[in-house]
């Protein structure tokens, strides 16, 4: 098992830091490029959502922990923004309307569909989102 940890301040778009964090984790796990892309995308979308909507661009701690396990690579994201469960986000109306009708709001949709397992819990006053991808891509 390998562990990685990153703490960002939740100010602005954390995409660059997330890219480096997931890249190191993926290299450690030997993730195929497609799996690495999916994990990065989901982690990017969730942390960006926390920074922009959770903390409303005012900043706050976002704690990322990554772990390489025999079958999966796991990223756990914790923040202290108001409770928000991404799994309660129903993307169907937005996707059905199409991007020309509704310009934004696709981040959570992409995060939810990009990983092999997505979990959320509010514990100890923190949002905890867990993202997992299989180390061997199922079906490519």
């Amino acid at each position: 098992m390998t562990a990685h940890r990153l703490v960002v301040d939740g100010l602005g778009a954390p995409s660059r830091l997330v890219a480096g964090f997931v890249s190191a984790l993926a290299a450690c796990a030997g993730l195929p490029p497609r799996q690495a892309y999916r994990l990065r995308l989901a982690t990017d979308e969730i942390t960006t959502n926390i920074a922009v909507h959770g903390y409303r661009d005012r900043g706050g701690p976002v704690d990322l922990r990554g772990r390489v396990e025999p079958e999966v690579v796991r990223v756990c994201i914790e923040d202290e923004a108001p409770p928000f469960d991404p799994t309660g986000h129903d993307p169907a109306p937005r996707v059905a309307a199409g991007p020309t009708a509704v310009l934004g709001g696709y981040g959570l949709f992409l995060a939810l569909r990009s990983v092999d397992h997505f979990a959320y819990v509010h514990v100890g006053g923190r949002n905890r989102t867990t993202l997992c991808v299989l180390r061997c891509a199922a079906g490519g």
Binding site: G12, A13, S15, R16, A19, P33, R34, Y37, R40, L41, D44, E45, T48, V95, G98, P99, T100, L103, G104, G105, Y106, G107, F109, L110, R113
Partner: protein
């Protein structure tokens, strides 16, 4: 992200090289929007070198597309890589664009 411009006849070819995430999108918006505005003969956006896109990047591309359309500029995407294509297809963004396999095909579609 690196932006390279060239021309093929009357078509402006704008190549995006690198990663298009939330941080980059805000940095390159004005430059790309300005380039597209001047592409009266059509603009082929060469995405063959774009290795990553997030929802913020997609939103940025769609904004560029909207601005181009309002100015009467035709826009086509070329060489979209599989991972990026998958993200664009899942969100339906791909349907908003003319998409070609290569820059040559995009130019042909724009001058047709």
């Amino acid at each position: 992200m690196r932006i390279e411009r060239s021309t093929r006849g009357t078509v402006l070819v704008v190549a995006l090289r690198g990663e298009l995430d939330g941080a980059v999108a805000s940095e390159v918006h004005d430059e790309l929007d300005g380039l597209v505005a001047g592409g009266g003969g059509g603009v082929a956006l060469d995405l063959g070198g774009m290795t990553y896109v997030s929802s913020a990047g997609l939103r940025f591309l769609l904004l560029v597309h909207h601005h181009a359309r309002r100015r009467g500029v035709r826009l086509a995407l070329a060489g979209v890589r599989p991972d990026v294509h998958e993200v664009m297809a899942a969100t339906g963004f791909i349907d908003a664009f003319v998409v070609a396999d290569s820059v040559d095909d995009a130019v042909e579609a724009l001058v047709r």
